[in-house]
């Protein structure tokens, strides 16, 4: 496999074929992020996917290489998602997220099992719909953190760098978002 640095250098000199190979390495991840964060709106997700790589191609000369290329692409895609949200202007209102931390759940959460059944696990689409439907109820700031951490599997530190947040802010959004989703999954029983 050709080295990423070499492909980046060739792309910087306008080699579209080299850049296309870099796109091939990252496009599934970027599309997935766009689709998850733009909550299933195919047209918006597609715009973010296309614009991420076009922006990256144009700005590749300013990519210093002190971050991973994947991190840089995630950052561009996240910013494009946030710009789309600003243009739209509306966000889900989730009063639960303003509640102080409260984890004295009692036994109720122990008794109700909404985790994916083997049938659900076998039906990819239903499970994806269930997760993305719940995620859509959260504000985008939370969707971004949950997607980068729990779907893409990045660390809190990487997520903080991509979103230009502090690590405690990432953890706070992550935890509140997870608790909200847990309640949503329970409601869907």
């Amino acid at each position: 496999m050709q080295g990423e640095r070499e492909l980046i250098e060739r792309s910087r000199n306008g080699d579209a074929e080299a850049f296309s190979r870099l796109v091939g390495r990252y496009e599934d991840r970027i599309y997935r992020l766009a689709k998850t964060v733009c909550t299933g709106l195919s047209a918006e997700a597609d715009d973010v996917y296309q614009d991420t790589f076009l922006t990256a191609f144009k700005k590749l000369k300013s990519f210093r290489g002190d971050a991973e290329l994947g991190t840089w692409l995630y950052r561009i895609a996240s910013n494009l998602c946030l710009m789309k949200r600003r243009k739209k202007g509306s966000e889900p209102f989730v009063p639960l997220l303003d509640r102080p931390h409260d984890h004295e759940d009692g036994p109720a959460h122990q008794l109700r099992d909404w985790s994916p059944t083997p049938e659900e696990a076998a039906h990819k689409k239903e499970l994806v719909d269930k997760a993305s439907g719940a995620l859509a109820k959260l504000p985008m700031d939370y969707r971004l953190v949950l997607t980068l951490r729990d779907v893409e599997g990045l660390s809190a530190e990487e997520t903080a760098k991509i979103l230009k947040l502090s690590i405690p802010a990432v953890k706070s959004r992550l935890h509140r978002g997870r608790l909200f989703l847990r309640d949503e999954f329970e409601k869907s029983l």
Binding site: H103, T147, E152, L174
Partner: protein, 82 residues
């Protein structure tokens, strides 16, 4: 350190770090012991673990359609000639 003496916020932060395997070994052992004896924290951890597992299903979402891939390549080709 006694978990019972910590504020709710501090305890939650520790539990989250435990879940995400971001705690040093001694604290991790302490939390594992606490989990075994505290029904409330065990319930919280179990349900949040299930939430994360469900979210991971999104990793299996469909890749970009072939038409989008082609459109991107065409746009990139135009951008490289501009």
């Amino acid at each position: 350190m006694k978990l019972e003496n910590l504020s709710c916020r501090r305890r939650l932060t520790l539990l989250l770090d435990y879940l995400d395997r971001e705690l040093p070994a001694p604290q991790r052992k302490l939390l594992a012991r606490h989990r075994a004896s505290c029904r409330s924290c065990a319930s919280l951890l179990k349900t949040v673990e299930k939430t994360v597992r469900t979210l991971k299903a999104l990793k299996r979402a469909s890749p970009p359609p072939a038409s989008s891939r082609r459109a991107l390549r065409a746009s990139l080709s135009r951008a490289s000639r501009a």
